[in-house]
């Protein structure tokens, strides 16, 4: 295989940074959550790639744990977004500046 671990590193770093940019520049909390998913996915990709290069399964176990964390985070995040929308009828994160409902 001529494509080595540099390829995995570059793709993973690129997608992580795209996710970070998306988290910072978007105003819709749903798209911000999707950007977090992008970042978690890129880390998963790095772990799986290195687990294949290093002939060890530890990376795959870490990726499974990260998937669990991502699922829990998405569920709680979407519930919080839904609660905010029910009380404020507005989804722009710049307008949500008080914790009081």
């Amino acid at each position: 295989m001529t494509l080595g671990n540099e390829f995995v590193l570059i793709i993973s770093a690129t997608i992580f940074c795209i996710g970070a940019v998306g988290f910072l520049i978007r105003k819709n909390p749903l798209i911000m959550l999707m950007s977090v998913e992008l970042m978690l996915n890129s880390v998963n990709f790095l772990l799986i790639g290195y687990s294949s290069f290093l002939k060890s399964l530890d990376g795959q176990i870490f990726a499974l744990v990260i998937m669990t964390v991502a699922a829990a985070e998405v569920v709680v995040g979407l519930a919080i977004i839904l609660t905010i929308f029910r009380t404020r009828h507005d989804l722009n994160v710049d307008h949500i500046n008080v914790l009081k409902g």
Partner: protein, 178 residues
């Protein structure tokens, strides 16, 4: 010949994943962002297949591209996917410069890094003889049992949090007085 084909497929999938990620953050409407994110996750699942992680690829398709994205699409349909107008601002350019600095630092750290890898014994032949799901299961329930239990506890805590958020929500004082 097989080597070249494998490399070309991996490269094409990686570039497609990057393009889909760009689509996620550049589309105005949330529904298109969700569809691009599904594309990105499927690209990653195919890359996992090519890296001999068949079980993780199946979990990625079922959990991410299935359950999580259906949840996203459901919430978008519930809240109404309004388009978002983006105007350039100081914060945006500051965010871009910060992230590009981070990207450069990541690549530099990856290039300079002198860590010594520890190689295991599970070559693709051993894995395919044993089966990916069996190998992952043996590893998960022997050496990584505590992280497995912690993950299940995390899921339980998330479930309790969801029930609390759904049950004890209240209407704001302003709207109640109207």
């Amino acid at each position: 010949m097989f080597e070249i084909t494998y490399d070309i497929v991996v490269l094409a999938l990686g570039i497609t994943a990057v393009l889909a990620a760009l689509g996620v953050i550049l589309c105005a409407s949330p529904i298109y962002c969700a569809l691009y994110l599904i594309g990105n996750m499927i690209c990653f699942a195919l890359l996992f297949l090519l890296f001999h992680a068949e079980f993780i690829a199946a979990v990625q398709i079922i959990v991410y591209a299935g359950a999580v994205m259906i949840l996203f699409l459901f919430i978008i349909a519930l809240l109404g996917g309004k388009k978002e107008i983006v105007e350039p601002s100081v914060e945006r350019s500051a965010a871009f410069s910060f992230i590009f600095l981070l990207f450069g630092e990541l690549l530099l750290a990856a290039g300079v890094g002198s860590t010594k890898p520890i190689e295991g014994q599970l070559t693709p032949d051993v894995l395919s003889a044993m089966g990916s799901a069996k190998a992952v299961g043996i590893e998960l329930f022997s050496r990584h049992l505590i992280s497995f239990e912690l993950a299940s506890t995390l899921l339980l805590v998330a479930t309790i949090g969801i029930i609390c958020l759904a049950k004890f929500s209240y209407t704001p004082a302003r709207r109640r007085s109207q």
